[in-house]
Symmetry: C2
Subunit: 463 residues, 2 copies
């Protein structure tokens, strides 16, 4: 245990529990080193799959791969599916083809699709070839829908019943066909003879209704409207809006094809949030197992863009080389205007990106936001223009310099407020993700304004 | 319709549907202006509460308040609870005390708590006084738990059954007591005579099990472990980890007190994500109905901190006033080093904050991250040092200047990589939110390094 850092991880976990957990982590690590497959297998199956997956994720990548190899066929499928993306991919990489095929046959259809996505094209072909043709066809079905659609995310196992069934009929059917039903579901979908979706009966409603009542009489209208080719982000939005635990997925003719459950949707929400947060800071993607090369690849492109924009700002400054040469204080104060202006722009940008993501920027709201952000820039501009002017004037004992930096600061703040909201709205309008590239644009715009106004005014006022 | 902007809101919505929606929005607006209460009330009740709430949120704040006043007692409770925080607060503000009291009596306990939270202390007292003492006691119960705990978020309505009951017994009980059960639930909680939680039976399991089987024989262990005083963020983490749709909430003695459902948890996840995104950009809070004053209040404090740090950077530059006076090109290139270094630091910071939020930064992982980020800084440092040196050297035709900026750039990148990850980890260790204030620290650290190394080296090499 001595090689574990004592960084505090979570105030909620009490000390003895935490120590027991660290000891278990260390035992797992040692079991891998000592190739104690039996102990490892028994320990992992004793835990909830999510906890077992957590434990394995504490291993270094090499130890993890070693553990998967050791366990081989004995690594429970439940644990594989609970692993974080990068570890699951690693596990699938390390397992032999037959083991992966065996895993696929055990899983619900949405999890099958997840695993198939992890595989290289030719390995996927090879593994699917190992399966009986009818299994193969069924496994590949989810894979036929485009990435990031509801079709990819849904499972094709659900409980559907015709309208004329009674509650008793539905319950009897469930008892007789227990094995064909998905492990978890929260609603019975009511369909007509052509498999069109007519309504849904929440299990809680089914439970409290007498046996002889018809499903048609207790079914609710399905509020969500999720089609197989709908973007998963839009589907997640409907889950949030209607507070759903699960929802039916249909084709264009409203025929029932599958079911989305909230656990998958929560993952989508997390993903989208993470993407926004990273994109705003100029990172394309990131996860816990990234190598240095992954990190460089995810960040260098935006740094390269920033290289260009930084030299544009330099170009602006160089226009005023003569002015700076005469008043060196300008060089000292220049970064203050740029830093504060950039900060104001980033603030407005974060607020706008959040509002767009939460659909608070439709219609009138976007116009109101533009006005509000510009006025906020104006208000903060007044406050910080006075502050900066006072400090600079006092420092360099110059009213002219104070006036110059004050006006420049004010102009930059108003401009920052406006660009912080207009840039993401413009990107959205062009069909681009408003979070991606916004920062670079906004910071360039505020830098240009900061340097141009400060040095330009200095040339006019101070020379 | 002509006064509505044509900003594209969602590619998924087709044009005719979108136009119909805009027309409906306009009709609602006009109904408010014309005080057509009857049409308004009928239109809103016809829609799903979430859709009706959406529609009302399209109104300006004044029109919205007007609409609530018009509808008065006829604004359905379902719609109130679906409104976004700021609109719900507004609605509760506008409604008379008796109307709010009537709303409270209709709601599930978790929604009651939400509304009570919206009220000013003395108004809450006044409204609670209007209720019968026993109602009041029950309504206030949820409010007794601290803010942001599972106790505040949970509802006290759930379905619990003793271990010796059979499936048939549970179903019969649900049918006979249909009205006492919550509208939505996904599990039956199995308790002992002292109300201690023994296990749970998902409704899907209940449904497919024969009537004479005992609940004790089909119940599952409850994987989550959520106590009333647990932080809601920790509860949300358990929902994600164990893919839950609902979970029981217990006291310290493991007695069942309430139930959390995933729709409330999804809101918590969104909130936490939003907080991180805003905090990273130096904004304390934001929502769609913020006034300019709200925005200034949420942002000025961080701008004030930035004002101080910007002048610290200026102070560093002023140390080298003499050098800049002799070589004005330094003033032109200075911001390039600061901008790129700051960008590299922000990238690392965003990655670290995300990893901490997703609990990928425990134990060994944080040490690995520090190494990876520093090496990433090193790698990007080499690439961009060469790039910047080449451009600067070519621009100003000076090998010395190229060398100076190249080395400074490299040092700043390595430093940025290290600070980007160490600052949030240090904040977390001190028990602070790693997203809040991180940006200011990281940018100050990179600015200081950028200016100090570039101007310092220039003094050594070029003078």
């Amino acid at each position: 245990m001595s090689d574990l850092p004592d960084l505090q991880t979570d105030e909620q976990v009490d000390e003895p529990e935490r120590e027991a957990h660290l000891a278990l982590e260390q035992d797992v690590r040692e079991a891998v080193w000592e190739q104690d497959t039996r102990w490892l297998s028994r320990t992992l199956t004793r835990l909830h799959p999510a906890d077992a997956a957590d434990l394995l994720e504490q291993l270094s990548t090499d130890d993890f791969a070693e553990a998967v190899k050791l366990l081989h066929g004995q690594l429970p499928t439940d644990i594989i599916i609970e692993l974080r993306d990068e570890y699951r991919e690693e596990a699938v990489d390390v397992l032999p083809d037959e083991a992966v095929a065996a895993v696929l046959e055990e899983l619900d259809s949405d999890d099958v699709t997840t695993i198939l996505e992890d595989l290289e094209d030719d390995r996927r072909e090879r593994i699917l070839d190992e399966l009986a043709p009818e299994d193969r066809a069924s496994l590949e079905q989810g894979f036929a829908y485009a990435e990031d659609t509801a079709g990819r995310l849904m499972q094709r196992e659900y409980f559907a019943a015709p309208e004329f069934w009674t509650v008793g009929h539905a319950i009897d059917h469930a008892r007789e066909n227990a094995d064909d039903l998905p492990d978890e579901f929260y609603e019975v979908y009511v369909i007509d003879p052509t498999h069109r979706l007519k309504g849904q009966v929440p299990l809680a409603t089914l439970l409290r209704t007498p046996r002889d009542v018809k499903l048609a009489d207790i079914m609710e209208e399905v509020q969500s409207n999720i089609s197989v080719d709908m973007d998963q982000e839009e589907a997640a939005y409907q889950f949030q809006k209607y507070s759903l635990a699960s929802a039916p997925v249909t084709d264009d003719a409203d025929r029932l094809l599958g079911m989305l459950t909230v656990d998958d949707v929560v993952d989508v929400i997390q993903e989208e949030n993470t993407e926004d947060l990273l994109a705003l800071s100029g990172v394309n993607s990131a996860d816990g197992s990234d190598t240095v090369l992954d990190s460089v690849k995810a960040r260098a492109p935006w740094l390269a863009v920033n290289l260009v924009t930084a030299f544009i700002a330099s170009g602006i400054i160089s226009l005023f080389e003569g002015t700076i040469d005469q008043i060196v204080q300008l060089a000292i104060l220049m970064p203050v205007v740029a830093a504060l202006g950039g900060n104001a722009g980033s603030q407005g940008l974060a607020v706008a990106v959040r509002a767009i993501a939460e659909r608070e920027m439709d219609g009138d709201a976007s116009r109101r936001a533009i006005v509000r952000e510009t006025l906020t820039g104006l208000a903060n501009g007044v406050i910080f223009a006075i502050g900066v002017a006072a400090i600079a004037g006092f420092w360099f004992q110059s009213v002219g310099l104070a006036l110059t930096i004050g006006i420049a600061m004010f102009a930059t703040f108003v401009w920052a407020g406006f660009s912080g909201v207009i840039v993401p709205l413009a990107l959205r309008r062009m069909g681009a993700d408003p979070a991606v590239a916004s920062s670079v644009f906004v910071l360039t715009l505020t830098d240009v304004m900061a340097f141009f106004s400060f040095l330009g005014l200095a040339t006019l006022i101070l020379l």
